[in-house]
Structures are given as structure tokens and as C-alpha cells.
């Protein structure tokens, strides 16, 4: 893009003014070429776990590094390694696997017309699951649509989730919401908005309320790499920094926002964790496919918030292995097989191998667990389907008018009468 003659009048001390340009970022590979993620530089410097009261200005390098615990030998090392026993690790593995199998069944349900839409979190299971385990059960989550693992890890009913996906007669959202836009107050899970990023600043407000009341419950929120461009994310960072709010601000950098690679969200120039620095917050970049690293970094941020040092931005570095949603076909914008090249592996596989390396797990036990969880999902699926699927056994249409307001005003009563039935 060239500038017009305006302002380009003749020579300056530096010489002739040159036509201006702007730059549009592009990913290294597109469909047709073979996937190549070799340009991703994984920081090798080991960053020690800092004291939770470390002043934020001494934490800058954490925004550019990468906190890892699990090595290529599947062993945990370094002082970030959390003290989780084998039972807890197996619990984490179970929740991740359950989330994945749940996703697989629901995607099949979409393909067979039982629901209109579905979104998987394949490859990102460690994030929601490890963070749910790091948080207290009643800490409040303000997720995006890709943290179904929070509900699974908190033991929420799969049947309840499925009924929402099926928009059926047992759906507590009364069939209104797009599938996967859950709400589960009892599970500390805020109603998901379709509008990206709105939850980030709401989480900050919730945490301020909790602090105002002298409550002990934290809030945590999740946005995608693409969503960091929305103003609401920046409101969240500003308010969180200004009021030193006890909140966790997570950025799930899964490299893609539908068809846009993370460079379009600003990831080419710097890291998403580094967004925090300009706002006066600590930002940590974490291997999002390393269950132990996610858990450890989250515990650190929680401890820091509880000690009154305010918010932390965690960038969870991962890869969206599946399509954006059931409506999306990634072969139109990224090379096939890119997920398999992801240098940080698969979170389920890595935790499994870690447990095996510890002598606490085996291929046989893993196969048995997979079978058991597949059955669990299947049984839940059957029960949910008994309450209906898309267009079959929907909630009473008259409920459409409920909850617009607390009480039905006269004009809605009139409209409900016009609807009939």
C-alpha cells in the first residue's frame, strides 16, 4: 500500500520520504504444502518457580519463556513439578480421556442429525482438566465454549450436558442455547456467551464482588488467542491490574481462530502472555499440553491471588487439533496433519506415558479405562436421548417467553397467547 503525495514533499535530513507500507501476517504453511511447524521456537531456558510475592517487574521473562514439567522422557523435572500423587494423576487422565470420548460421541451425534452443532476441545483437554483440579471446587469459572473439561473434571453430569447439546425436554436451558453453551451454577460454571470475550471482564467483576464480600472464592476466565483482540479482554486486564483483583486470566493459544492463525491476533510480534506486562500484570507462558505444567502454573497464580497480589495472565500454549466446530473444515486453510506435527505432543498421551514411566499405569490399564469410559459415555448418551434430540421432544414452546424478564410482562403474556397451544 503506497502513500499518496500527501506529506511526501521532497527531502528531509534522512533523505527522500519513502512510500509507506503495512503488513498482513501469513502462516508458514497452507493447504497443499506439507505441515511444517519447525519455525516454532520452544524456549529451552528453564525458568525456576518464583516466590509468589515476586514483584511483577521481575517476572517479565516468564511471558516469553515456556513453563514445562514433563520432558521428552516423560519424567517430571524442575521446581515447577507439582506434588500430585498417582491417584490424582490418574484422576486427571481419566477426566481428560472422558472429555475426549464425550466430544467424540457428541460430534457423531451432530453428524447423524441429533444436534445442530458441536465443538470439540481435542488436544486442549489438559488445560480445563488440570485447572479445574488446581482450583477449589467452588471457585467460579467464566469459560469460553472450549472448556467443557471443567465440567467433566468437576464431576458434572454428562447427561445434563448432553441434554443441552440435544436441546431436549430435559435441557435446563430450555432448548434456547446453541449446543455447548452450557450453564451450571452449581458447578461454578458461568453461562457461556456466544459473543467472544465478554466473560473476561465479567470474571473480574465477579472476583471484585467476592473480595468485597470477604468471600474466599476466586474467579478464573478463559479466552482464545483470537479473542484477545476483543476490547473486553483489555477491559479485564485493565480492571484486574488497577484493582489488584483476585482473578486468573487464561489465554488458550491453540494457534487458530477459525481460519486465522495466531499471527492475525498479534501473536507474530510478541506472546499473548506478554500482553500482561503493559498492563502491570505478571504473564506466564505455559506448555498447555503438559498436564503437570498447567497444574503447577495455575497453583502459582492461585496462591498469588489468594495472598493479595492480584491477577495473573496465563498463556496456555497448545494446538486446536480438531476443526473449529462441526460447521468447519480446516482443510480449507491449514495443511492436513498439522496437529500430528505439534511439537508439544498430545496431552492425554503425555500424561499416560508419564504414569507409565512412574510405574503407575500400563497400556492394558489404559485400554481398560478407555473401554470403561466409552461405556459410561454411551450409557449417558442413551439416557440423554431418552429425553429427546434435536427437534424431538423439545421443551414446551410456551417456555420461550420465560426468563426474558423475571416476571412475564403483559405484552409477553399477550404474545404467548397468540402463539397458541
Amino acid at each position: 500500500m503506497t502513500s499518496s503525495a500527501a506529506g511526501g514533499r521532497g527531502a528531509t535530513a534522512e533523505g527522500e520520504l519513502r512510500p509507506l507500507r503495512f503488513h498482513v501476517p501469513e502462516p508458514k504453511c497452507r493447504p497443499g504444502s506439507s505441515p511444517d511447524l519447525s519455525s516454532i521456537e520452544l524456549p529451552t531456558q528453564v525458568l525456576p518457580r518464583p516466590a509468589i510475592d515476586t514483584p511483577r517487574e521481575r517476572l517479565h521473562e516468564y511471558a516469553y519463556g515456556l513453563i514445562r514439567v514433563l520432558g521428552d522422557d516423560h519424567r517430571a523435572s524442575g521446581d515447577w513439578a507439582p506434588s500430585l500423587d498417582a491417584d490424582q494423576l490418574r484422576q486427571g487422565l481419566r477426566s481428560m480421556l472422558l472429555t475426549r470420548l464425550f466430544d467424540q460421541r457428541m460430534l457423531r451425534a451432530q453428524r447423524t442429525g441429533k444436534t445442530s452443532f458441536y465443538m470439540q476441545c481435542t488436544g486442549e483437554e489438559a488445560i480445563a482438566v488440570a485447572q479445574a483440579m488446581a482450583l477449589e471446587p467452588n471457585d467460579m469459572c467464566f469459560p469460553s465454549y472450549r472448556q467443557q473439561g471443567l465440567l467433566v473434571a468437576r464431576g458434572w453430569s454428562l447427561v445434563d450436558m448432553m441434554c443441552q447439546v440435544y436441546n431436549n425436554s430435559a435441557d435446563r436451558m430450555k432448548g434456547r442455547q446453541l449446543p455447548v453453551m452450557y450453564s451450571a451454577k452449581e458447578a461454578g460454571f458461568f453461562s457461556i456467551s456466544g459473543n467472544l470475550g465478554t466473560q473476561a471482564i465479567q470474571a473480574v467483576g465477579w472476583a471484585m464482588a467476592s473480595a468485597y464480600k470477604g468471600d474466599t472464592r476466586l474467579a478464573a476466565t478463559w479466552v482464545g488467542d483470537g479473542t484477545t483482540a476483543e476490547a473486553d479482554f483489555h477491559y479485564a486486564l485493565t480492571f484486574a491490574a488497577v484493582y489488584r483483583v483476585p482473578v486468573l486470566l487464561n489465554v488458550v493459544n491453540n494457534q487458530w481462530a477459525i481460519s486465522s492463525f495466531q499471527g492475525i491476533a498479534g501473536g507474530e510480534a510478541t506472546t499473548f502472555a506478554a500482553r500482561a506486562i503493559g498492563y502491570g500484570l505478571p504473564g506466564l507462558r505455559v506448555d498447555g499440553n503438559d498436564f503437570l505444567a498447567v497444574y503447577a502454573a495455575t497453583r502459582w497464580a492461585i496462591a498469588r491471588a489468594r495472598a493479595g497480589h492480584g491477577a495473573t495472565v496465563l498463556e496456555l500454549y497448545t494446538y486446536r487439533a480438531a476443526a473449529h466446530s462441526s460447521s468447519d473444515d480446516p482443510s480449507g486453510y491449514r495443511p492436513d496433519g498439522e496437529a500430528a506435527c505439534w511439537p508439544l505432543g498430545d496431552p492425554v498421551e503425555r500424561l499416560k506415558q508419564h504414569l507409565i514411566a512412574l510405574g503407575e499405569w500400563s497400556e492394558e490399564r489404559h485400554a481398560a479405562l478407555t473401554e470403561e469410559l466409552t461405556e459410561e459415555v454411551k450409557v449417558a448418551g442413551k439416557e440423554a436421548e431418552s429425553h429427546g434430540t434435536l427437534g424431538r421432544q423439545t421443551p414446551d414452546p410456551r417456555t420461550m417467553f420465560d426468563d426474558v424478564f423475571k416476571d412475564l410482562p403483559a405484552h409477553l403474556l399477550r404474545q404467548r397467547d397468540q402463539l397458541g397451544n
Partner: protein, 337 residues
């Protein structure tokens, strides 16, 4: 003449304008390499280069704000907001900035921008992929608001919008992208191929903003509609056998009051149909204007048939959507008054 879907017609309009005018740029979320989630900009980046057709960060306020700045420089940006439901983060840039820039600078600056956005329901999109927020924009003085109902109009109106020197909000009923949907959701999907309004010239042509189209002449009652409801109204008219005059507004602001007035003076009855919610909807404005202009000619109260005053509920899509049965009943009420 080639047959085009509405998606192809919109693509063709942008193609024509990118070709004709180097000041035209096209951008938005997923618009560049991929060509948009509805594929309206497919192939344009390849043809015109990455500096003219490109992806943006997910920031609707940023997209429109950048367009305003480019417009102030003298470009004609055409931006896409992925769904009308996501236009609200851009509300300030549209209502306080784009709409009033000319006014507040005494004509020194203006924002000749076009904001395209798919709207409307019928695709099981739930409350965040189904809204019809046209009335919010029609209410803002300084914005023009357009909603085509077919491929031919879509292309001609989009070209007119891009060439217009004022900001235009251009809503595309997504349920019409691939066919003329008449509300009979249980019947096979009809394509644009074979439909007379699916015949679209390859090259440049424009349909001026502010001109309605009479899609079916009639004498018993005037039906005012736009977008998807045009096809629903035509179906309802045919099924009820009422000799209705069906007017597709095409542009809400500026409104073609003359065509409306002439029709209502002839028929003496008027039914307004829109998919958007009722209270404060554009139907209220139409009803008021018809009443002001045609009071002496009216033989029945003006009927408004609209979406209910609730968010768009996914499972109850077809109870919410004002389908041909409800439109037919409204025609009957207007006739039997």
C-alpha cells in the same frame, strides 16, 4: 445470464468493485485467505492481493474503527461482521463515529464505508447467530440501512452501497444465501438456480439505495417486507389466494415512502412483516409512516407481524420464525376487519 446464489452475487459485487476502484478494500474476520465463513469473499484475496483483501483480528469495534479511518483518508472499505449478532462491539464506531463524522466536521470528513453482515434465523443458530438488528441502525441518523432479498438485488445494492458516500450497514439474510426460503422448513430446500431473481449479470450494475420493489402487484392489501420475509409473504399470499401487493423495501433508510404510499392508497390496507422482535422494531416506524401518509385511505388498522419479543430460541426456531401460516392469518385479519 449466469445464475448465481446470493453468496456468488455478493462476491461478484465485491469483485467488480475491487476491479474498478483501487480505493476499495475488503476485510473482516476469516475474510481473507479462507474467503469468509459463508464464503462471500472466496477467491478475492488471491485475485487482488493480501493488502486489499485480508483477515482481521477478532475485534468488531476495531474493524469498523479502522474502516472509518480509511474512509476519512478517502478509501472505500467494505468490511464484514461475521454475524449481525456480533456487530454490537462496533456500535460506538458506527453510531457515534461513522454516522456523525460528516455532520460534526461540517462536511470536512466522511466515512464512505460499507458494513456487510449476515442476519436472520432459520439455521438453528440460537440467539447469537440469528438476530435481525436492523431497527437499531435504522434509528441512527447518518447511517443507511439495506437488506436485499435475492441475488440480483444483493449485487446491485451492494455496488450502490460501496459507491455511496455515506456509511451503509448492509444486512444479508443468511437463510437466503443459497435459496429463496419461504418459511416451509419441512419442505426440500429450493436453490436460486431457475429463480428469475437468481439471474445475475456478470458485470457492473447498480440498484439505487432508497428504491423499493413491487414483487407482486395486487389490490386487496399492501404487504411491506424485506429480507427473508419477502419470500414468506409471497408464499402466504399465494397460499391464501389474497390479491395482495407485496413490496420489498430493499432499503430501510432512506425509505421509499412514495411506493408505499401509492400502494396503500390503492389497497386501503397494510400488513407489515419482519423477523426481528416487535417492540421498537422497524415495523413500528413503517406503521407510523403509513398512518401519517395514508390515514384517510386506511380501511383497517395496520397489522404488524413480527418475531416475538424474546431472544431467538434454538429449539423453538419454527415457533419463533414468522412463517407463512402466521403471515396468512395476518392478511386475513387485515382483510376481514
Amino acid at each position: 445470464m449466469p445464475s448465481m446464489t446470493m453468496i456468488q452475487a455478493l462476491n461478484s459485487a465485491m469483485d467488480v468493485m475491487l476491479e474498478r476502484d483501487p480505493n476499495v478494500l475488503v476485510f473482516g474476520e476469516d475474510v481473507g485467505y479462507f474467503g469468509g465463513v459463508f464464503r462471500c469473499t472466496a477467491g478475492l484475496q488471491k485475485k487482488y492481493g493480501i493488502n486489499r483483501v485480508f483477515d482481521t483480528p477478532i475485534a468488531e469495534g476495531g474493524i469498523v474503527g479502522a474502516a472509518v479511518g480509511m474512509g476519512a483518508y478517502g478509501l472505500r472499505p467494505v468490511v464484514e461482521i461475521q454475524f449481525a449478532d456480533y456487530i454490537y462491539p462496533a456500535m460506538d464506531q458506527l453510531t457515534s463515529e461513522a454516522a456523525r463524522l460528516r455532520y460534526r466536521s461540517g462536511g470536512e470528513f466522511s466515512a464512505p464505508i460499507t458494513v456487510r453482515s449476515p442476519c436472520g434465523g432459520g439455521i438453528y443458530g440460537g440467539q447469537t447467530h440469528s438476530q435481525s438488528p436492523e431497527a437499531l441502525f435504522a434509528h441512527v441518523c447518518g447511517l443507511k440501512t439495506v437488506m436485499p432479498s435475492n441475488p440480483y438485488d444483493a449485487k446491485g445494492l451492494l455496488i450502490a452501497a460501496i459507491e455511496d458516500d455515506d456509511p451503509v450497514v448492509f444486512f444479508e439474510p443468511k437463510r437466503l444465501y443459497n435459496g429463496p426460503f419461504d418459511g416451509h422448513h419441512d419442505r426440500p430446500v429450493k436453490p436460486w438456480a431457475g429463480h428469475p431473481l437468481g439471474e445475475v449479470p456478470e458485470g457492473y450494475y447498480r440498484i439505487p439505495l432508497g428504491q423499493a420493489a413491487i414483487l407482486r402487484p395486487g389490490s386487496a392489501v399492501t404487504v411491506l417486507c424485506y429480507g427473508t420475509m419477502v419470500h414468506v409473504a409471497l408464499a402466504a399470499v399465494e397460499e391464501s389466494g389474497v390479491d395482495a401487493e407485496v413490496i420489498d423495501l430493499r432499503t430501510l433508510v432512506p425509505l421509499d415512502l412514495e411506493t408505499i404510499e401509492n400502494s396503500v392508497r390503492k389497497t386501503g390496507r397494510c400488513v407489515v412483516v419482519h423477523e426481528a422482535t416487535r417492540t421498537g422494531g422497524f415495523g413500528a416506524e413503517l406503521s407510523a409512516q403509513v398512518q401519517e401518509a395514508c390515514f384517510d385511505y386506511l380501511e383497517a388498522p395496520i397489522e404488524r407481524l413480527t418475531g416475538w419479543d424474546t431472544p431467538y430460541p434454538l429449539a423453538h426456531e419454527w415457533h419463533y420464525f414468522p412463517g407463512p401460516a402466521r403471515v396468512g392469518a395476518a392478511l386475513k385479519r387485515a382483510l376481514e376487519y
